[in-house]
């Protein structure tokens, strides 16, 4: 792909980052140079924009290539040096959204070029399937890699036209997938070890940003309340729980789901072992071992969380209830139900008519 200066300013992640960083490193040592100073200023601003806007969004300054281009690698160095995961994630997403907004304005061939620099197996098509027109066909492998964090139904592979290994997409959809590719690439870059001697002025900028925004990262995590609220179990867990209690056969994944769920809401290991006691082939030692394994006190030490709603659906463990609403995880469903129950009981106490 032959990139114009304008292209690089719009999509700075397309150039060789290592070389760019090396070059910039030389320059940032010389912060007294006013030209360099404005680059650093813009770099800090890129990060600020990502942190201030919601959804995070970095702006694009037309016809300012001399600053737009080098400020990107500097911003990468700064965000990485912050060592703060919230800043890194927000910044990566901000740059990705910036790229998306620019891409949807581009000609299809430009989009194709960008995708090809990422080694996607993609081609331009002008096909109509049913009465929908598609602009691109992309290998289902590249498709799956770049829709992994998407949860919308319309991005599920089963809801896409898939022919001979290619998913048919519109221009806008390809731009959306590119956004994800860009986000992931930038995030990977930000997680690389930074071993540069950074000038003090730059470090001060970073500290300032951290002080101002990183406080936000301590997002209030909803604590799962102590105790086990059976009435707040989501339907999948209720079903597994009563099956276990009555000694019915439960699939391996079902046992895993139930056990990891109960552990995560704070139930103690011996109490969980007891639940499986009525199973006719109950073996205390083995059950205890398995429960401890899931709790992370054995083996790899990984503490497991239950599978997501999507996974439970795939394996036929989701009874499909409307009471779950838009929840994506049984633990989230549980917390939500507790909040609702609490609110209802408060309402009762205060005596609403």
């Amino acid at each position: 792909m032959t990139l114009t200066r304008e292209d690089i300013a719009k999509y700075p992640f397309l150039t060789d980052a290592a070389e760019e960083v090396r070059r910039v490193n030389l320059e940032i040592q010389n912060l007294d140079n006013p030209e360099v100073e404005s680059i650093v200023k813009r770099a800090a601003e890129r990060i600020r924009e990502a942190l201030e806007n919601n959804p995070p969004r970095v702006s694009y300054r037309e016809r300012e290539e001399d600053i737009e281009i080098p400020s990107f690698p500097v911003a990468i160095i700064m965000a990485a040096a912050s060592g703060n995961n919230y800043i890194k994630r927000r910044y990566a997403l901000g740059e990705a959204i910036r790229a998306y907004n620019l891409l949807i304005e581009e000609e299809r061939d430009k989009i194709l070029e960008v995708a090809e620099t990422f080694n996607w197996r993609i081609r331009r098509v002008k096909d109509t399937i049913g009465d929908r027109r598609f602009d691109f066909a992309i290998s289902f492998i590249d498709y799956l890699r770049n829709t992994r964090p998407f949860h919308e139904d319309r991005f599920k592979l089963v809801n896409k036209p898939l022919l001979k290994g290619e998913v048919y997409l519109t221009k806008r959809e390809v731009a959306r997938l590119l956004r994800e590719e860009v986000r992931r690439r930038i995030e990977d870059k930000l997680n690389m070890e930074i071993r540069l001697e950074l000038p003090e002025k730059l470090l001060n900028h970073i500290e300032e940003i951290k002080k101002k925004y990183a406080g936000d990262s301590e997002k209030r995590i909803f604590e799962t309340p102590k105790g086990t609220f059976h009435e707040a179990f989501p339907p999948c867990i209720s079903q597994l729980f009563s099956a276990a209690k009555s000694g019915q056969h439960i699939s391996h994944l079902g046992r895993f789901t139930l056990t990891s769920f109960l552990l995560n809401i704070g139930m103690k290991i011996p109490d969980i072992v007891d639940i499986f006691r009525s199973s006719s082939d109950f073996n205390e030692r083995l059950t205890r071992y398995q429960v401890e394994h899931i709790a992370g006190s054995r083996g790899s030490g990984t503490k497991y969380i239950p599978p997501s709603c999507e996974t439970l659906k795939t394996h036929g463990l989701c009874p499909g209830s409307e009471t779950c609403g838009n929840v994506k995880h049984p633990l989230a469903s549980y917390r939500r139900r507790i909040r609702i129950f609490k609110k209802e009981s408060q309402d009762n106490i205060s005596g609403h008519e």
């Binding site: 289902f140 139904d153 599920k156 089963v158 036209p161 022919l163 009555s246 999507e310 659906k313």
Partner: protein, 410 residues
């Protein structure tokens, strides 16, 4: 002589002569191997072999009841799970009659209450009707109908893999599992690194999980009261499957079938009384706007049936598990004494597992059969038997012994 040592000796004889048939996976040194033994009934895992000769010799000496290898490639296959260093995994599908609700299961599958010994047929109940016990010994029987329906599911799966996912038939290895189903194995550089969540999307595609017909051409008026158009039968992918499945279903749906879907009476009557017209409509734009009173929701219910018949019933856990152990081709299955037989994708239609998978072709032995439904081995049919001493060809005898339906007579 007890059953286990008899079977063990026969397996030992077999491997002595035929271990050279064992088909190694590609990149053998990067795979983990696992075995079940007869006598101690233990699992041996985290084994690895540098070459196929070592593997064959090991099987010859160990005489396992089951032999497996990993779908995954590891840097160090002998290490514990956490230290193996996962490099990738082939894509695997398992189709087992267990996942197909065939009617014959009520005839040949049995369960025995572990508490009181009461026996019944079909799938075990939650509770024993006699003593209320909850544990059952289940015996599943690989009958011809079950094997045929597993084959049909495998063929549907092959269509998905070739037409939709674009794999070429030479990347796909089909095998008869040696018991009640088929394994389908895709080996392709590009799919090796797919993580579990990508494989889950593949599973959802093949099982039609989360499918919304609105994305496949089912269009209606803004409030969905009327459907304006739908997919055609000759279209590719799920569009065509939805149309063909709907066509098939409406062709033969009884009043009860339609009631089961919760359709309104008026719609049911329309479908039944206008079957001819519906059938003819497929020549043009399909019946989507033909049935009065049927809006988007009603059609979605009908399409659910289409998805059910057109999807392939695969074991969802096997495909999404990127550390799965898979039975080694051309080894014996300890529950049948049959072989896991590899075949190519275009052979499956003609394939007869009950002839091709037979390992023990010589000799006869007298056994005492407790109970067995009728079964076929090769061209010969045996049984049904109940409490009877019979002399049987080796393959038939080993099969019943492996199924624990018989004992070696002295």
């Amino acid at each position: 002589m007890n059953n286990i040592s008899f079977i063990h000796d026969k397996f030992a004889e077999f491997y002595k002569e035929n271990a050279s048939m064992i088909k190694p996976p590609s990149n053998i040194s990067k795979r983990e191997f696992g075995f079940f033994t007869f006598k101690e009934n233990v699992v041996i895992r985290h084994k690895s072999f540098l070459n196929v000769e070592d593997l064959r010799n090991y099987v010859k000496q160990l005489v396992p009841s089951h032999a497996y290898y990993s779908a995954a490639y590891y840097e160090m296959p002998e290490e514990s799970m956490e230290k193996k260093g996962w490099l990738g995994a082939d894509l695997y599908f398992d189709i087992d009659a267990d996942h197909i609700p065939t009617k014959c299961r009520k005839i040949h599958d049995t369960w025995t209450c572990k508490k009181c010994g009461f026996q019944g047929r079909g799938v075990a109940p939650n509770e024993c009707p006699i003593c209320g016990g909850k544990g059952f010994e289940e015996r599943k029987w690989p009958c011809e109908i079950c094997l045929e329906s597993a084959k049909y599911e495998a063929m549907k799966l092959l269509d998905f893999l070739i037409d939709d996912f674009g794999f070429s038939p030479h990347e796909i290895q089909v095998s008869f599992s040696g018991h009640r189903g088929y394994h389908i194995h895709v080996e392709n550089e590009k799919i090796r690194e797919l993580d579990s969540s990508a494989r889950k999307e593949i599973v959802d595609y093949i099982t039609g999980t989360g499918l919304d017909p609105a994305y496949h051409g089912l269009q209606g008026t803004p409030h969905g009261r009327r459907v304006t158009s739908g997919p055609d039968m000759d279209e590719p992918g799920w569009r065509g499957r939805i149309a063909r499945g709907t066509h098939e279903f409406l062709l033969s749906a009884t009043k009860e079938d339609l009631e089961e879907l919760g359709l309104r009476k008026k719609i049911i009557n329309e479908i039944i009384s206008r079957r001819e017209e519906i059938l003819k409509s497929w020549e043009k734009e399909g019946p989507w706007s033909l049935i009065r009173g049927a809006g988007v929701e009603a059609w979605k219910r009908i399409i659910r049936k289409a998805i059910e018949s057109q999807s392939a019933r695969i074991d969802t856990v096997v495909t999404t598990d990127i550390h799965r152990l898979i039975r080694l081709p051309n080894t014996l299955h300890g529950k049948t004494g049959w072989l896991k037989i590899p075949l190519s994708a275009n052979e499956i239609e003609e394939f007869d597992p009950l002839s091709s998978a037979i390992a023990f072709k010589k000799g006869e032995v007298t056994i005492y059969v407790k109970e067995a439904p009728e079964f076929r081995i090769g061209e010969e049919t045996f049984g049904p038997y109940r409490d009877i001493k019979v002399e049987l060809p080796m393959a038939a005898a080993i099969f019943l012994l492996c199924k624990d339906a018989a004992e070696v007579a002295d």
